[in-house]
């Protein structure tokens, strides 16, 4: 999922580890830290105390900024990969740094450093401060710790699990794929885990910490039949701990990948043109992400460049359509205890009973619209300033039966698996790629289909949703991410089976 944006501005090299972090690596795991889950992590590990934060914030406000914040990050990532039957490669990465933001009205100054020393932070703060050019002010003298729920409670961290415990999972994915079908000729499998520790300290006296896990186990396979090859893949993941990754789950991942791939030998490309489209439950919620989610991010509306800029309070869909963006679903990939500005995770209703209700706000846009922030201020890392972003976006279940939705279509397509969504914010035109689905003919699912792009217009699509079933599913993968302004953040989506009465299918004539 990415917004149309002609290029990523900055080819920032990935940041690396801080010195202190590296000196505490323990044996057994790939890259790890000793303290699994601790409070006041950045103070105990790196000596970042309130006095230091206050001095840096004062520097960031020294030229008259309205507001400043510090975003500390320490992220550890590991990859263990199998190819051609062997777990023969591993990658590790550590990101440590602090981003310093000064806000003046709607203007942002931003500097960051990889060294958590006061000297380096003061230099970055001086850079951020240049966005303003008046007399300075001071930050609040005390910081109050932000309270929040925990939507991803963890018994342990994957980064603290020994490598030897991870290898059987990856091997099981590989072996099960080959056991399930003689058509499988290549398997790649892998386990990725990362943990991001972050701390926000703001000039208006808020201090918040979080530990965000992200992980997934996947199979990527190639099958061959009568000289033809097809590829497919599947993963499970999210904000999980190691107990989620059982050998049974590894087998299930393999089965899903194999089933989704071998069926492609019978798949056709559908005819091109406008036709009814039934979205199956789960990952097809990517359509909502593109068709409405991005257009509801408040920064676009503040600039008046979104097609939804003047639609709040208006009817945009039938009364049985309600769409939310929700940070509070346990272990879901887009869930957040607090956002990257220190605002507690929330559930935001975008469309309620067919009426457009709320944009997705960060602090800057919330201030502009004079509303409370919705907890959507997110950033890729300390190297990026926050902007409004989605979390878990989905449509609530309706009352129809999924079989009845399919039966209602004389000729159209049924979408099961999708990827590569994209939207043009101002026009509302969007597209997503169907990697797997089926034709619908006379109310019945018939030939499998694959490799077809579907296009539509967001506001038009919403009015074209004519049936919503009762079978809401959330995507359970751990790889979903969304690109905007050169930043990627993890997110998820969900969808009950629903009928869109007309969209443009980019098939063959």
């Amino acid at each position: 999922m990415k917004l149309i944006n002609r290029r990523s501005f900055l080819k920032n090299s990935a940041a690396g580890a801080g010195a202190l972090a590296l000196s505490r690596i323990i044996p057994g795991s790939w890259v790890s830290t000793t303290k699994a889950i601790s409070k006041e992590y950045f103070e105990s590990e790196f000596g970042i105390d309130d006095g230091m934060c206050r001095r840096v914030l004062d520097k960031a406000l020294s030229r008259g900024g309205d507001f400043a914040d510090l975003y500390f990050e320490h992220t550890i990532s590991n990859w263990v990969l199998l190819e051609d039957g062997k777990v023969d490669r591993a990658y590790g990465s550590v990101d440590l740094g602090v981003g310093i933001r000064t806000v003046k009205g709607e203007q942002t100054g931003y500097g960051f450093t990889q060294e958590l020393t006061e000297e380096s932070m003061m230099a970055a703060a001086a850079t951020a401060a240049t966005i303003a050019n008046t007399s300075g002010k001071k930050s609040d003298s005390t910081f109050v710790k932000q309270k929040s729920e925990n939507y991803y409670p963890l018994k342990s961290l994957l980064t603290d699990v020994p490598l030897s415990s991870k290898l059987p999972l990856v091997k099981t994915v590989n072996d099960t794929c080959f056991e399930l079908s003689d058509l499988i000729v290549k398997v790649r499998a892998g386990l990725h885990d990362s943990q991001k520790r972050m701390m926000i300290v703001t000039s208006d006296g808020v201090k918040a910490e979080d530990l965000l896990p992200r992980n997934y186990l996947y199979a990527s396979i190639v099958a061959e039949k009568n000289g033809r090859k097809e590829q497919g893949w599947f993963n499970y993941g999210g904000r999980r701990d190691f107990s989620y990754y059982t050998l049974e789950r590894a087998e299930e991942i393999a089965k899903k990948a194999v089933d989704q791939t071998v069926v492609l030998f019978d798949a056709i490309q559908p005819p091109a043109g406008e036709m009814p489209v039934v979205l199956g439950p789960g990952i097809t919620g990517i359509l909502l992400h593109e068709a409405i989610g991005h257009g509801m991010e408040a920064d676009f509306n503040k600039k008046n460049v979104s097609t939804y800029a003047t639609m709040i309070g208006k009817k945009v869909a039938e009364p049985f359509v309600t769409i939310v963006d929700d940070a509070t679903i346990p272990h879901q990939l887009g869930s957040l205890n607090i956002d990257d500005e220190g605002v507690p995770g929330k559930r935001t209703v975008l469309v309620e009973d067919g009426i457009l209700t709320s944009y997705l706000h960060d602090k800057i846009s919330a201030s502009y619209y004079k509303v409370e922030p919705t907890g959507n201020g997110r950033r890729q890392s300390y190297q990026h300033y926050p902007v409004p972003r989605m979390r878990n976006t989905y449509m609530l279940a309706g009352s129809a039966q999924s079989e009845d939705v399919i039966k209602s279509v004389e000729k159209g397509i049924y979408v099961q698996n999708v990827s590569n969504g994209q939207v043009k914010i101002g026009e509302g035109d969007f597209a997503f790629y169907v990697s797997q689905g089926q034709m619908i003919e006379n109310g019945k699912l018939t030939a499998p289909i694959k490799d077809v792009n579907i296009m539509g217009n967001g506001p038009k699509m919403l009015t074209n949703v004519t049936m919503v079933a009762d079978n809401l599913e959330l995507n359970q993968g751990g790889t979903g991410s969304c690109g905007k302004d050169g930043q990627r953040v993890p997110c998820s989506f969900g969808q009950p089976t629903c009928l869109v009465k007309s969209m443009t299918v980019g098939g063959i004539q």
Partner: protein, 440 residues
Amino acid sequence: MSRDMLDVCSWVIETARKAGADECKARISKNRFVEVEYREKKPEKIKEATTQRLDIDVYVNQRYSSQDTSDLRQESLKEFILNAIKNTKLLEADPYRTLPDPSYYEGRANIDLRISDPEYSGLTAEKRHDMVKEIEAACLQRGGDKIVSVTARVNDEFYEEAVMTSNGLEGHRESTECWAEAEATVQDEGDRRPTAYHWAGSRTLRDLPDPESVGRVAAERAFDLLGAKKIDTETLPVIIENRNVRRILGGFMQGLNGRNIQQKRSFLADRKGQKIGSDLFTLIDEPHIEGGFGSRLYDGDGFPTKKRILIEAGVLKDFLVDWYYSRKLGWEPTSGDTTNLVIPPGKRSVKEIMKDLGRGIYITGFIGGNSNSTTGDASVGIDCHLFEDGELVQPIAEMNIADNHLKFWHKLVEVANDPWPYSSWRMPSLVFTDVVVSGV
């Protein structure tokens, strides 16, 4: 600085070998960048920082891992390296994992690629602000009362790296880039607010095009999007604008990749020497273009770069095979990377070509879509215009093209004379015939 960076690489390698690594590769990189963005005639975003990173690949008893860190202090690095080697030993052996045979490092060109601006340190904050103001002003002036929003940006970057292996490779590279960009959003009918982009970049500030032109063209491109409509599905000639060729060609290039070939994920794997496109389809990798965004003297394996013809008159000549996958395939390595990709330009302008074609589609952007590297099937949404008798007559919304790369490149009937200079993929506009464009 290069000697200091190489000295750190040398120490990393020595430490790794003492700790039990058979072989090691170390690369240190530094990056400094600045971005200034304006909206409503005042700075909207200012960002500035410097980053550094060490990447190490370790090889222990046919086992391999790769890691990165920004902490270049010796005491921290030592523990980092020891831990990496200890864990690498837990992996399974892979006999193909080695550093390249050092004979493949030989023959590096001794030329100045002119990819680093000697005057870069003279680029001041004031100059950046002046440029971005000029971009914004030009866009606003050209856009007039149709403009909803203009965002103007400049950014620049200095990059330096040193690379070394335990078997004799040494490399150092320094480069700079400067970019200017504008986004213009205009009011269309109803709630449609199309946004267009224009940008330009160069290795040196001196070569950066006039900022005024960047802003002006962004506004003009936004005007071109006004009044978009859907049209019927039909079969038409199609021109893909130079800056957008990369999106389609990128799907094709997946088939050339050595890893995809070895992993049976390439639709081109068994087609070397075969005709896979029209006579006009020639694709060359040119690493030594002065000031090129992809110009470099050595590739990711440390091999010297050289001109390579990948496709010649529609015949597949060469794959992109790095050292590791060459060993798995039992082939000679070429290079796993591309540098500056070039399709030799033709003689006529897009305008002249349009006139001859009569009626067709001019693609100015892509949306969504994908390309399957295993089968070659591709389907992608397009931003486009209908043209008739050499003139753009109607912007089109919600349109798509779908084809297989093994058929599509045979439909290439002309190459325009306008290679896009602001990318390492220097593609001219390409003309294809008999393309199904699906709409209503």
